[in-house]
């Protein structure tokens, strides 16, 4: 079986801020927001992992995004973690041009948490109504 985690660590040796192995099958890798797209491209295209989902959380220190990848041959789940420190205007490069399946989850994170995905082809409301007031993000802590 291929050592996917080892290959990621080798390839992004300088970019990985923190490596966490909660168990043999649950791995977390911290990246800077600017390095996420390259890492996603390597993991998805070259290693053949599957994008399970993307999750976003409003943390005290910023908006945290987790890109969960599943390597089905070994059952490992690899999560790329990144922190968007500027809560006023969080920006990150979209991964939809690389993975079509990420389109809806990025739209959902955009409307619920207010993260702008640069390069997303179709950034419009998914779950909320189309005339939802701009700048109101229900899953932010400051939302009343």
């Amino acid at each position: 079986m291929e050592d996917v985690v080892g290959r990621i660590r080798e390839k992004f040796y300088d970019q990985i801020i923190k490596f966490e192995e909660k168990s043999a099958r649950r791995i977390y890798l911290d990246f800077k927001p600017a390095d996420i797209q390259a890492a996603v491209k390597f993991i998805f295209t070259d290693l053949g992992c599957r994008l399970a989902t993307v999750t976003g959380t409003d943390m005290p220190q910023g908006i945290e995004l987790l890109y969960h990848f599943s390597y089905d041959r070994s059952g490992q789940v690899i999560s790329l973690r990144t922190l968007l420190a500027n809560k006023k205007d969080p920006h990150i490069e979209s991964i939809t041009p690389l993975i079509v399946g990420a389109e809806w989850i990025e739209r959902e994170i955009w409307e619920l948490l207010g993260v702008e995905f640069d390069g997303h082809p179709n950034l419009k409301h998914l779950l909320l109504i189309d005339d939802w007031p701009e700048g109101k993000h229900p899953l932010r802590h400051d939302h009343d």
Binding site: L127, L128, I129, P138, H143
Partner: protein
């Protein structure tokens, strides 16, 4: 009891409208049509379109999107159309009453004839509710 009411009580066609439920009530509604509970023995069948339905079964809390669609569904239904709210969400919004995406409960959008609370209600409770509706139709 006139002929129309008599025919109606023997053959209710049900349209199931899921207005953003968690699917728990829907699974229990599905149970009603399985051999164990089998509401077809009372002449109740599922209709593929609300235009062919006598009863509109609503599950879940309407959000801004589904509230509009629920109203449209009711307008399309031939009258008389009976509305059954199934589950705590459809009956009174329970924990979602302060939600950002929940404008109003079901009974402010369409007139509800029968409330079946529970999270989810048991199929037996739904059958008991339907029998109450049928008895109401028969004037009992």
């Amino acid at each position: 009891m006139n002929l129309r009411t008599k025919a109606l009580t023997k053959s209710l066609a049900v349209f199931h409208a899921a207005t953003s439920p968690c699917n728990n009530c829907d699974i229990e509604v599905l149970d009603l049509f399985t051999p164990r509970h089998d509401v077809e023995r009372f002449g109740i069948t599922l209709a593929g379109s609300v235009r062919h339905a006598d009863v509109l079964v609503v599950t879940g809390v309407p959000n801004y999107k589904t509230a509009e669609r629920l109203k449209k569904l009711y307008e399309q239904a031939p009258k008389p159309c009976f509305v059954i709210a199934i589950g705590g969400c459809a009956c009174g919004r329970i924990v979602f009453q302060d939600s950002y995406n929940s404008p109003c409960p079901v009974d402010e959008i369409v007139p509800v004839d029968l409330y079946i609370p529970g999270c989810p209600p048991k199929p037996e409770a739904m059958i008991a509710g339907i029998i109450k509706l049928l008895n109401k139709l028969k004037g009992k």
